[in-house]
């Protein structure tokens, strides 16, 4: 069963430089505005009981989409159908008045969420208990710390039990303990077959809580699919953008090989071809790099190969060389020598990576040749583990 069905839903704003332009337009029947495209037409089908994540940069149209779904903004085009009672948390504590007590604010906030006064009375003890405010509930809200404020606000909005809940950036509030509680409440929502749509900058939450996700960029749908894939793609994109800054370029292009000692080939073994034409590996796959070098008239012991694994945001994950490991290149034919660097199993977590290859002398100070960024590849992992690499570990009973 479909809980939310949106067809060609979009939002454009008209932006007028001066209020006068609105009148000019009205009188002269000629446009005097610039159209701002907040959200390009988008189709959504969200199943009942599904958890749906929305990710993207600031200003990507996430909040616009959620406001459209919540019905607080009318769409410019398209239709929207929502089955069942919906509720939206677009901002925590909007409508709270600082002069009134927490209890008083609960009354109005519940009423604005559509609860009758008897329903509100029934739920008030739960709300107070969940917010952990205790006696402070009778004090004016202006005396609350910001943590108390958001705890109360969160408790109110989640105390109602809608069929469709739309949440904008509201989950990461309060201290660690309260965050756990609120996360549990969201999980319970999911388990009770309620539909949850939410956007967050906490990508881990999106990956954990949602089955499906979309990635918006500049008001345009960039990716849609299962949340792990969408989140990983988005993370790659963010990192790629960060490393595109010129100061991250550590190897200057002038360093061209001019001698007869040079890198002939740096290549990866294995991997599946992904859509972008770069090989895809899974966490735990065998992974090997093959390097071939011309060493010319140099003795074999004087040529060493260094390899560095780099994530696409410029982070060096691991770098090692035949010099460090005291290993020699093996002859292939004539002056061509080679070596394989094997990682089995591959311990890298999801991300886009590349290699940096260096051809060094025995001292490690002279560089014969180098490849700044080569052999780009992608790694994906399915589990909910987070981080850069999978570390060897075990869980043990406490003695």
């Amino acid at each position: 069963m479909i809980a939310i069905e949106a067809k060609q839903l979009s939002k454009q704003y008209r932006q007028y430089v001066r209020p006068m332009d609105l009148f000019k337009e009205w009188l002269l029947r000629r446009p005097f505005h610039t159209e701002v495209n907040a959200l390009a037409p988008i189709d959504l089908n969200i199943e009942k009981g599904a958890t749906f994540g929305v990710i993207g940069d600031n200003g990507a149209g996430k909040s616009t989409l959620l406001k459209l779904l919540a019905g607080t903004l009318p769409p410019s085009t398209g239709t929207l159908q929502i089955e069942g009672r919906k509720s939206a948390i677009l901002e925590l504590g909007s409508g709270f008045h600082p002069e009134f007590s927490g209890l008083e604010n609960i009354r109005l906030a519940c009423s604005m969420l559509g609860l009758s006064s008897t329903e509100t009375k029934e739920r008030t003890p739960d709300i107070i208990a969940f917010s952990e405010l205790g006696d402070a509930i009778n004090r004016p809200v202006k005396s609350y710390s910001s943590g108390m404020f958001v705890r109360l606000a969160f408790s109110v909005v989640t105390s109602i039990e809608p069929d469709v809940l739309i949440v904008d950036e509201a989950l990461s509030v309060g201290d660690a303990l309260f965050q756990k509680k609120s996360m549990d409440r969201m999980m319970r929502f999911r388990d009770e077959q309620r539909t949850l749509v939410f956007c967050s900058h906490n990508l881990y939450q999106v990956k954990e809580l949602c089955e499906q996700a979309i990635w918006l960029d500049g008001g345009v749908l960039k990716a849609q699919g299962d949340s792990a894939t969408v989140v990983d793609d988005y993370q790659d994109y963010v990192r790629a953008r960060q490393s595109a800054k010129p100061d991250n370029q550590r190897v200057s292009p002038e360093m061209e090989a001019v001698s007869d000692v040079y890198l002939q080939e740096v290549s990866l073994e294995g991997g599946i071809d992904s859509a972008e034409g770069i090989p895809l590996f899974r966490l735990g796959d065998p992974f090997a790099v093959r390097v071939r070098a011309e060493i010319g008239s140099q003795p074999a012991e004087d040529v060493h190969i260094g390899l560095i694994l780099i994530r696409n945001d410029g982070l060096q994950v691991y770098g090692v060389s035949t010099l460090i490991d005291q290993c020699n290149l093996s002859p292939i034919e004539g002056a061509t020598y080679g070596v394989r660097l094997v990682f089995d199993p591959l311990a890298l977590m999801s991300g886009d990576y590349a290699l940096e290859a260096w051809l060094l002398d025995r001292s490690g100070l002279h560089v014969y040749d180098s490849r700044p960024i080569c052999c780009r590849f992608r790694v994906r992992h399915e589990s909910s583990e987070v981080g850069l690499v999978k570390m060897a570990h075990q869980w043990e009973p406490v003695v």
């Binding site: 209020p19 903004l73 909007s94 409508g95 008045h97 002069e99 009423s111 969420l113 006064s117």
Partner: protein, 263 residues
């Protein structure tokens, strides 16, 4: 358009709580508390009595004493300032409640409605003081007072028929907020509030008589002080309110969503 007003009915509980909150907010934290709601109109009545009856010695009716002037003035001033106050508050209602408007599912109509309804508290207190004072001065409460709730209702309806229009227009045109006090002053002087109808030269009388606020304040005076049944006035006024309500509804419905892009 009916949906617009129906939505309002569906949110009546929030509406009531918001009116209550607005009223409480005025007196919250003050030393006198609810006494302020009483003190303000009482003070106004005393000042007017002193100035007009004590110093200027104007009388409202040829046969009345000068003491009556303050009563006649007050009977018109109470509803007029309620109307004025309501529209003034409505003009900033959408701007002030921007957060609620954009981030909760409250319909936009709620905010001017709260501004209109909020004036009822002040008016009821002002009228109670007026009726008691009049009684004290020899105007025993007449049976025509039974009509007063209806008249107050019409006054409220008139405020509410104008408030949403003022509210939504102020979003598009900030100048409305500046213009409104001037318009209200003009309205104040084209309504027989501080002068009796009889003082108007016959040539200008049609201006005053075509003003719906004139019918309204005359109705207040009729039932409180003159023991008359202003049925014709009320019928015309009711009709005017309905037309205004339809006009405002149409305008508000067309503009309320676009107003959100401007907030």
């Amino acid at each position: 358009m009916f949906k617009l007003y129906l939505d309002l009915y569906r949110h009546r509980q929030s509406l009531f709580l918001m009116v209550r909150r607005d009223t409480l907010l005025r007196i919250k934290g003050t030393l006198l508390g609810p006494l302020w709601l009483l003190a303000q109109p009482l003070f106004l009545l005393l000042v007017y009595s002193f100035v007009f009856s004590g110093i200027l010695k104007i009388s409202f009716r040829p046969d009345g004493g000068s003491g009556d002037f303050a009563l006649y003035l007050f009977a018109a001033l109470v509803p007029f300032s309620a109307l004025q106050d309501g529209l003034q508050r409505a003009s900033s209602s959408l701007l002030e409640n921007r957060d609620l408007l954009l981030k909760t599912q409250m319909p936009a109509m709620v905010f001017p409605a709260v501004a209109s309804l909020g004036t009822l508290v002040q008016e009821v207190i002002g009228l109670s003081i007026l009726i008691l004072t009049a009684w004290f001065m020899g105007y025993a409460p007449a049976r025509t007072l039974l009509l007063l709730p209806l008249i107050v209702g019409l006054r409220l309806l008139l405020t509410f028929a104008l408030a949403p229009m003022v509210a939504v227009l102020s979003v598009f045109i900030k100048d409305v907020g500046q213009l409104l006090p001037m318009l209200m002053t003009a309205l104040f002087f084209t309504t027989p509030i501080i002068y009796p109808m009889e003082m108007i030269p016959a040539d200008y009388r049609f201006i005053i008589e075509s003003n719906p606020i004139t019918w309204l304040v005359q109705a207040y005076r009729s039932v409180i002080l003159e023991n008359e049944w202003p049925v014709d006035d009320l019928l015309v006024l009711g009709l005017a309110c309905l037309i205004l309500l339809a006009m405002t509804g149409a305008i508000f419905m067309r503009l309320q969503h676009r107003a959100k892009d401007f907030l």
